[in-house]
Amino acid sequence: MSVRMETIAASPLAASKPVRQGSRVWGKWGLRVIALTYLTVMLLLPLAAVVTDGLSGGLGGLWSDISRPAAWAALVLTLWTAAVMTVINTVMGVLTAYVLVRYKFRGRSLVNALIDIPFAIPTLVTGLMLVLLYGPQTAVGSFLKNNFGWQIIFAPPGIILALLFVSFPFVVRTLQPVLMEIDIDQEDAARTLGASGWMTFRRVLLPAIAPAVITGALLSFARALGEFGSIIIVAGNFPLRSQTAAVYVLTQIESDSQRSASAMSVVLLAIAFCLVFVVDVIQRRQEQNHV
């Protein structure tokens, strides 16, 4: 009986209106074809063009393009600045999400709204802001330079600052919903049992939020590897010194060195693919745990 009910629910009026059922199947397949064609043409085809071009000289050719000093320096600079940003961003992101979810204070909803600003502001504008604030001619910039010998703009610290700005929302926004789900009682219980604040965080909170923290951190790292608009303004374009991988790709395109541009693109894409894949695996595992 229940089986019959389900069949009826799944294909209502199937027997009485065969024409409509036919148009429904057509619609189902039509939409699927449209969706997959769109994704294939818009995403897969362009990616395939770069990957094919980058691998046209084989892996050996790719390696000889990437191991050239300017390319290698750009890749190393990109990776280490992104790594430093990720560490700072993760710590501050966890702290910000925790404070926003757990504490009541004045201006909380305003701060919460402002978290998304870096997503909304064009990254080129971000770069310009940082140059205006920390550039060599500005009050803050000359103060830091004269008193501490720190150069921010056209140097790695500027790159890290720009990356921190553009990727700030990633960790906060992945973590907030997870923190909201976790019952505050668990933390209270740990504290009542005599655990210190740090111990409560490490033993109770951290295990629960770890997947979300890792997801946010990986996404911000992946996002940082490709960042361009803010970097070209903040770091300028000095090969071997402040040229990042994305800026390197631009200079290679502009000087018609298609091979080196494609080689660096393939390396960046490969790293991004791996990171997105790991994030996808973590998220699927999370969803399974929830069900």
């Binding site: 429904r24 009541k104 996002r223 490709g226 790709v249």
Partner: protein, 272 residues
């Protein structure tokens, strides 16, 4: 939620506020100060440059076109990924996020590789006698690519939350697929869709690296507002650069406030 009493909560809140202040507030204050540093007359004079307005118009045209394309196809993609099961679904689902992590420069480069002189699709493009690479159509493709995930990612959870029952009920009552979409599906996802559209709009207006590579940044022709800023910096027209940057920042701020309102609506509806 705890009230912020005691030393530790106050310290933590203080650290967060100080960090946000230095990271986000100070730079914004710097651009406002920069734009008005030579007085309002200098700013207005910088705005009288006709290429600036051409750049703004192109930016807005590209953003609106990208919004239309991604709203329509993004909704279809979201619906297919949530409501249907097929081989390779996981692959396509993971693919959606790639534009978030692919460098815009590489996105622009892809367009050149596909449609440039020796590109894969160059024969077709030449046969149809249209210009895509180094022109506005190529810039549009870049803009659509970089903003593709937003509508899909915002609509998918809403569709999942609504479930299939309303759509099936409409169908049982004899509504056509088209009618079901307009009367049942669309009203259900409208806030999520609008939220996705605002993100698409903000991202499209701010695109820089991709349109630089794909369009070539020819002033008055393929120059968007962000590309205008870049040229203004290189030509040392600082006030013009800061002014346009400030306008873009203000637009993002308005979009952001709109997003916040929309998010509260979506939360309310999904929550109930």
């Amino acid at each position: 939620m705890y009230s912020a009493k005691g030393f530790l909560p106050k310290l933590l809140i203080g650290i967060v506020l100080a960090y946000l202040g230095v990271l986000i507030f100070l730079p914004i204050a710097a651009i406002v100060q920069g734009a008005f540093s030579k007085g309002i007359d200098a700013l207005l004079e910088a705005f009288s440059d006709p290429t600036l307005w051409q750049a703004f118009v192109l930016s807005i045209e590209l953003a609106i076109a990208a919004v239309i394309v991604n709203a329509i196809f993004g909704t279809i993609v979201a619906w297919v990924l949530v409501r249907q099961n097929f081989f390779g679904k996981g692959f396509f689902n993971a693919l959606i996020d790639l534009p978030f992590v692919v460098s815009p420069v590489i996105t622009g480069y892809m367009i050149i590789l596909l449609f440039g002189r020796q590109g894969w699709l160059a024969p077709f493009v030449n046969a149809a006698n249209v210009k895509i690479a180094f022109d506005v159509p190529g810039m549009l493709l870049v803009t659509v690519f970089v903003s593709l995930p937003f509508v899909v990612r915002e609509v998918m959870p809403v569709l999942r939350e609504i479930g299939t029952e309303p759509e099936q009920a409409a169908h049982t009552l004899g509504a056509s697929g088209w009618r079901t979409f307009w009367r049942v599906t669309l009203p259900g996802i409208r806030w999520g869709l609008l939220y996705g559209i605002s993100l698409t709009l903000a991202r499209a207006l701010g695109e820089f690296g991709g349109v630089l590579v794909a369009g070539g940044a020819v002033s008055g022709k393929t120059e968007t507002a962000t590309l205008f800023i870049y040229r203004a910096i290189e030509e040392r027209q600082n006030i013009a650069a800061y002014g346009v940057a400030l306008i873009l920042a203000v637009i993002s701020f308005v979009v952001l406030i709109g997003m916040e309102v929309l998010r509260k609506r979506t939360d309310l509806e999904v929550g109930s």
